[in-house]
Amino acid sequence: MSLKARRTMIAYSFLTIPLLFFLCIRIFPTVYAFSMSFSPQYGGSFTLENYVKLWHDQVFWKSVWNTCKYVFITVPVQMAIGLLIAIAIERVRHFRWIYRMIYFLPYITSIVAVSWVWRLMFDPNVGFLNEFIGWFGIPPQNWLSDPKESLFCVCTVMIWQSMGFSMLIFMAGLKAVPKQYIEAAQMDGAGTWKWFWKITFPLLNPTIVFLAVTGVIQSLQTFTQIQNLTAGSGSSAGGPLNSTISIVVYMYKNAFQDFNMQYASAVAVVLFIIILLVTLLQLKILNRNFDY
């Protein structure tokens, strides 16, 4: 056997199990999800009824609209706060690692656990927040039980947890800004503000794109926070009045509470298409060259 053939054989022997895995656990289920979404709930052949039903389903559109809100509120805010903290930490000389550590802490802790901690803080009767705003003479709020406020409460928890990640990535990005640019700008007498907008900000472009894309994809998939902040004790996930329901929560409820897996698959396929579009957009932007 030639050397080339031998090495090809070795390569394929290394790859057999992994390839089988990807085919059975990733590719096949994807096809399966699509085919389920075109099947009626109680057996039968190809049908579009799930998608027709979806089109007329108010709760589904509510979940899409809410998911958009999650994306457009949490992503810019967590990035802005992350950038602010990163710049502030860059500018001090002491306690840097302590700051970095504490700001990053929420990101590594369990979403379920911290969601319950926040749920306690939001609780209208025993929570800390009503007590706190009371000190400033603000009347108590219903927070998570008020349909007008609940979505913002969920957003707060999401931002609180992920801004540390933005900070970390921005700190890495700021380190990569060439020092001579900063020195040159300082020699030219550019003020801090001008220096930031003209030099640092454009150089952070790749970091910003990366954080925006990962942030968008992550908030499109929001589930755990909503489930743990709103479900239980008599209310159902995504409440009150579906004010916090997201696409994934709606899919979960259809599949595992109403056991309509086919309809839930249609919801999942829509989510997949949205995420695919975001990913393709990302590839397009990232392939554009950034000039240093």
Binding site: T30, S110, V112, W160, T214, Q227, G232, S233, V248
Partner: protein
Amino acid sequence: MKKRRIKGSELIIHLCLFAGVTIVAFPFLWMILSSFKSLSDFYSFSFFPHEIDLSAYKYIFHETGFLTWYMNSIIIAAVVTLSCLIFNSLIGYTLAKYKFPGVKVIFILILSTLMIPTEMLVIPWYVMGSKVNIIDSYSGIMFPGLIEAFGVFLMRQFMLGIPDDLLDAARIDGMSEFKIWWRVAIPQVKPALSALGIITFLGNWNAYLWPVIAVSSDNMRTLPVGISLFATGDGGGIQWNTIMGMSTLAVVPMMVVFLIFQRRIVEGISLTGVKG
């Protein structure tokens, strides 16, 4: 004069940063303090417990399966992480260092699975798992994560950096191909491997969506699933002190681990983050 002005502005930044730290750390403080309160303490506001009440912890250890959940989480996260490290590095190595027909197709095939969200796969996984009867078991919870496309990608990128001469030298010495991967290639990518290990472990430790679907019996729950299901109902009404006790026990050890390996973890996450 100039130096003092800089110091002044630095002080202001410190003050702002410190204010932020208070906001970020407060929920954790509140969680720990609340876990030492008695249930009636919750209805008369105070920062600190009126007296330290350990009933929440007694309840957790005696009346719930908390320790079992903890063990489940450790076992599942450890096995999945180990499997990911072995397979991802082997695939990454093969794709980076072997030239054979089909290598590009396989690489693109694996990469393309990155675009498939877990959320879409959980329903087929559940149906498939039920058919082969592994739902509600360790293997049922673990199987989707055993190999992971992002890790393959990351490993391939790092394996590309290993000089071919090094591998050829090992071949001349008569090492088997499998041994070359294990003995020569792996030591070269240790930092990337430890970074990958950390994020894989963290991700599985905190995983919720698939475990909550795949688990139905109490003694199969992972930590997040256990806390969530206990809190939303099977504890009978919301027992805030017990829930906060469970959260404390879940979060504080992670914080200690994070403190010890702070540098590694931060480097790992920014490394894999920027690379991804």
